[in-house]
Symmetry: C2
Subunit: 203 residues, 2 copies
DNA sequence: ATAATCTACTAAACGGTGTTTAGCAAAAAT
DNA sequence: ATTTTTGCTAAACACCGTTTAGTAGATTAT
C-alpha cells in the first residue's frame, strides 16, 4: 500500500517547507517578526495549517533548534583528531566561537532563547545538544588522562570551559560589547580566547 | 513659583509608580506578561497614560535596567577592600554570581534581554553599567601591578573574566543546566567558580 | 459507479499585544 | 471671567498566537 507512504512523505515535505520558511524569516528578521501568519504567507498556506504540523510556535522553533544543533555538531567534526588533547581543546573553543559569530541567530536559539526550551521536558529531548556536549567531555577527560587539570573534577572543568566560551558568545550575540565602541568585537573575543588558552596550558 | 516644582515632583512620583508596578509584574511573571495594559491596570490608570511618561515599552524597561544596575553596584560595594587584589577578584566573582542567582530577572534584563538595549545609542546611556564594570577593571589592574597575569593585556583579561562569570550566570538564568537534572545547579556554579579561582591564583 | 468516510485545508473568530489619535474636564494663566 | 494649557482616557489601528467550525476533494467501501 504505497498511499500511506506517499502521505507520510508529503507530511515530511510539508514540515520541511514550513521549517525552511520559518528559519529563513527568523534568521533574517528575528523571532518576533517570524510570526505564524508571516510564515504561512511565505509558503502560501493559511496560518491554521501550520498547527496541523506543529503543536505551537515553541515546538516549531524547537525543531529549528534541532537543526541548529546538527549544524553545530558538524562544526565540531572539523576539530583535528590527531593531536594532543590540549590542542584539540583549544581547537574546539575556536570552532565554538566561530559558530557563534557565523550563526548568531542559531546560537541564540540553542543557548539563549527561552521559546524552544519550553518543549523540552525529559533529558531525551536534548539528545541533539548532548552529542556536541559529549565531544567536550571526551576531550576534557583525555586532557585529564594526560595530566592536565590535576585533581579537578572533569565534569566541573568541562562546565567551566563551556561557561567561558558561552559567556564570550552570549555577550557578542546579545550586543553587550557595544560599550567598547572603539574596539573590534571579533578581535576582542579572539584575544580573550587566546588568554584563556594560555592559562589552560599551564594547568 | 512653587507650582512648577510640584508638577515636577508629581511627574517624578508618577514615573516611580509606573516603574514600581512594572518591575513587580516583570519579576513575578516575566517580560511578556508585564504588558502595558496590565501595568496600567495595577496602578489604576489607562494604558495611554504610561506613554506620557515613557516613550515606549523598551524605554520603560531601560529605566528598570538602570535600577537593576544600581542594585548590582551595591552588591559590588560589599567586596572587601582591605585584601590582596587576587582575593578581591575572587570575592567579586562570588558576589557577581550571588547577584545573578538572587536576582535572575534583573540579571536577565541587564545582560541578556534585547528590549532595554534598544534605547541605548551612545556610550553615555550605559553609565550605570560602566560603574560596575570599572570596579572589575580596577581590581584586574591591581592584580597586574602585583605581578599576576604577567604580560597580558588587562583589558582583555578583564573581558575574559567577565565572560566566564557571565557564562555561568547566563546558562543558569536561561535554564541550560536542566540537561544535568541530577546535579544541583547552584553547587555546579559554585564549584566551577572555585576551579576558575584556583586557576587564576597560578597566573 | 455510487455512497460513505476520511483527510487536508481554511475563514473567521477569540482574546490578547504595543501604540496613536482625538477629545474632554479640570487646572493654570491671562 | 476668559483663554490656554495640562493630565488623562476611550477608542481605534494593526498586529499577534491559537482554536473552532465547516468544506472541498481524495480515499475507501459497497
Amino acid at each position: 500500500m504505497g498511499i500511506s507512504e506517499r502521505k507520510e512523505r508529503e507530511k515530511q515535505e510539508m514540515q520541511d517547507l514550513i521549517l525552511k520558511a520559518a528559519a529563513k524569516i527568523f534568521l533574517n528578521e528575528g523571532f518576533d517578526k517570524a510570526s505564524i501568519r508571516k510564515i504561512a504567507d511565505a509558503i502560501e498556506y493559511s496560518p491554521a495549517t501550520i498547527y496541523l504540523y506543529f503543536k505551537d510556535k515553541n515546538e516549531l522553533f524547537y525543531a529549528i533548534q534541532k537543526q541548529a544543533f546538527h549544524k553545530f555538531f558538524n562544526y565540531f567534526q572539523t576539530v583535528s583528531p590527531n593531536q594532543e588533547p590540549i590542542e584539540r581543546l583549544r581547537n574546539l573553543g575556536e570552532v565554538y566561537i566561530k559558530f557563534a559569530i557565523e550563526n548568531p541567530g542559531y546560537y541564540d536559539l540553542m543557548f539563549i532563547m527561552r521559546a524552544p526550551m519550553e518543549s523540552i521536558e525529559n533529558t531525551h529531548d536534548w539528545d541533539e545538544g548532548s552529542k556536541s556536549h559529549n565531544v567536550l567531555h571526551e576531550i576534557v577527560n583525555q586532557c585529564v588522562e594526560k595530566g592536565h587539570f590535576n585533581g579537578q573534577d572533569p565534569f566541573i572543568v568541562a562546565h567551566a570551559i563551556w561557561s567561558f566560551v558561552h559567556g564570550l558568545s552570549a555577550l557578542y550575540v546579545r550586543d553587550r560589547m557595544k560599550m567598547f565602541p572603539e574596539k573590534n568585537r571579533e578581535n576582542m573575543i579572539t584575544e580573550a580566547l587566546g588568554v584563556f588558552n594560555d592559562w589552560m596550558k599551564k594547568l
